[in-house]
């Protein structure tokens, strides 16, 4: 009897394994073809001078060239500046807005969430078209009119190297906080009321509760948003490509755009592949550092 059930069980497990492989088959083929193969291929291409009919192997030349290229380092610096200006500010704004939404009635919470999320629904191309006109350098341009009311001078927003980066940053501040607001709010609603009650008994003020309850409880959320934000920011391409084309004088050429230009403007596939792998390494490094320094007390 025992043996009989054992064989049945065995057969079942065996049969199930077949189903398992069948169920992941399509996903696995797509993954192998369009992710795994390209990653492996990127390594090979990065050691080659790519030509459609037979590439030549050139060792580490692409890497050496990249690391001694001042434009590459400039693009890294630009990317870091952009990240520092956008990610922490966006996080702080989202945090503040989520705190402000919290005491409101349910329907108002939902309405504000929807409003702040709306720009994320519109396509990046559509938004870039709109922002291009907001940054119109003519005195009649929207933003120039706005700063004109406080007496500031007319600016050539996207066309001058001193304001082009600022313009992209401003655009990011106003169109990319929806997701983090919603995530922060969900985390805030998840904080147990008993913490606040205990704090109230001790006579804690609003700021003390914020400092000693909310900030520590939201640390995993902050870490998550910070890491994903930084990773996303290091790969940023579209806004620079559509709004400034990287200019003027490469003031807004971020790594993502530089790699794109090398690949599809100059068709230097080998160089682009090498640069993309350096970028991947850089991103992994930054993510690790963030986890190490900020993730110490975070439990998952």
């Amino acid at each position: 009897m025992m043996q009989a059930t054992k064989t049945i069980k065995k057969r079942k497990v065996k049969g199930d394994a077949g189903w398992g492989y069948t169920f992941i088959a399509v996903a696995l083929v797509i993954f192998a073809l369009f992710t795994a193969y390209p990653v492996a291929s990127a390594f090979i291409i990065s050691f080659q001078e790519y030509k459609p009919l037979g590439s030549t192997f050139i060792g580490f030349d692409n890497y050496v060239e990249t690391l001694s290229d001042s434009l590459f380092w400039k693009s890294i610096r630009t990317t870091i500046v952009y990240t520092i200006l956008t990610v922490p500010v966006a996080l702080f704004l989202s945090f503040a807005v989520a705190i402000l939404i919290l005491p409101l009635k349910k329907w108002m919470q939902t309405t504000f969430k929807a409003v702040f999320y709306l720009p994320a629904v519109a396509s990046g191309v559509a938004l870039s078209v709109v922002w291009l006109w907001i940054f119109d350098p003519m005195p009649s341009g929207i933003l120039n009119k706005l700063i004109g009311t406080v007496g500031a001078d007319n600016q050539n927003w996207l066309g001058s190297s001193s304001t082009a980066m600022l313009s992209l940053v401003l655009m990011a501040w106003l169109s990319s906080h929806g997701t983090s607001i919603i995530i922060y709010l969900a985390a805030l609603l998840g904080i147990d009321n008993s913490y606040y009650e205990a704090a109230d008994l001790d006579g804690a003020t609003f700021l003390q509760k914020l400092r000693y309850i909310v900030v520590p409880c939201l640390k995993p959320t902050t870490l998550f948003l910070l890491v994903t934000g930084v990773i996303g920011s290091f790969q940023v391409f579209q806004n620079a490509f559509l709004m400034t084309g990287g200019g003027p004088d490469n003031a807004t050429t971020m790594v993502g755009l530089l790699i794109f230009n090398n690949a599809f403007k100059y068709f230097e596939f080998g160089k682009a592949a090498a640069q993309s792998l350096i970028l991947a390494l850089l991103i992994a490094g930054v993510a690790l550092v963030q986890f190490k320094f900020l993730g110490k007390e975070v439990e998952y």
Partner: protein, 285 residues
């Protein structure tokens, strides 16, 4: 509560909530302004914008700029159709195959399961810049399917993120349900089809919506692999329209509105799933 709601004096509470609402409204206005500006301006006349004055309030409502946008290319409508085909196919395929893989990874025992899943997770962290060049070479120089629907659709058929989403959700379905279905003589496909899918409706809806939105809005890949107007998606078409008509302000806004409007409609009718979709991937990352 973080905020004191037992404040003895209801006046203070009203003032506090009023101030909060006011602050939020200001921020909301700044957030919504570009979208408002886009829609309002699209209703203007299709004239060249020399030293024109932008008006923040419409003096008249005209759809001539929309007509201008559609008249620009014989394929303007086709761009919308292409976007619909691509986003629709990719969405259906993801809902079906990603949920299937997610179920296998969460509930079926097979050799190499943990290894394969870890491989997928690692791949998710690789920036897309790494794959863009080899993927382009694969599609254009090896498969020779540049400028076809296959080129637009194939790489997106099953996304790792969606597999991950499905696996996370299905992992919480009690094992007993599956066991008892087995006792009743269901095979794994029947279990997947009749039990797992109906139980996972919410996560599948979230997945479908996010996938559709992402693929409707995507610009980079269609821009790379299409080279004739008839195969472009609406985002690529809009970009080309912009470059060809740099001074036509209102038609440009009309084009932008056309590209964004389907997502707005979808968002307002299925808001709950959109907002749920934001948090579902973030919880216990």
């Amino acid at each position: 509560m973080l905020f004191k709601n037992h404040a003895s004096n209801s006046m203070t509470k009203y003032i506090r909530n009023g101030t909060i609402t006011l602050l939020l409204l200001i921020f909301a206005l700044a957030t919504l302004f570009p979208i408002y500006f886009m829609i309002i301006s699209s209703l203007g006349d299709p004239v060249e914008a020399g030293a024109m004055n932008y008006s923040l309030f419409p003096s008249k409502i005209s759809f001539a700029s929309y007509k201008f946008f559609f008249d620009y290319s014989a394929y303007s409508l086709r761009w919308l159709f292409n976007s619909l085909i691509v986003a629709g196919t990719v969405t259906v395929s993801n809902v079906f195959f990603a949920s299937m893989a997610g179920y296998a990874f969460s509930k079926i025992q097979f050799k190499g399961r943990a290894f394969l899943f870890t491989l997928l997770l690692i791949a998710m962290m690789i920036p897309y810049q790494v794959t863009q060049v080899p993927l382009y070479i694969l599609i254009v120089n090896i498969f020779h399917i540049q400028n076809t629907y296959s080129a637009l659709i194939l790489p997106g058929l099953v996304s790792v993120y969606n597999i991950f989403l499905a696996k996370q959700f299905m992992g919480s379905i009690p094992k007993e349900i599956i066991e008892s279905a087995k006792m009743e003589g269901c095979n794994q496909f029947q279990i997947y089809w009749r039990i797992i899918l109906p139980l996972s409706k919410t996560v599948l809806a979230v997945m479908a919506i996010l996938t559709f939105m992402e693929n409707w809005n995507t610009f980079f890949w269609p821009f790379l692999v299409t080279n004739t107007m008839d195969m472009q998606t609406i985002q690529v078409g809009l970009k080309n329209f912009r470059f060809a008509n740099t001074t036509y302000f209102a038609p440009m806004m009309a084009g932008a509105t056309i590209s964004a409007l389907p997502m707005f409609v979808l968002f307002f009718s299925l808001q709950k799933y959109f907002l749920e979709g934001v948090t579902v991937g973030a919880v216990k990352g």
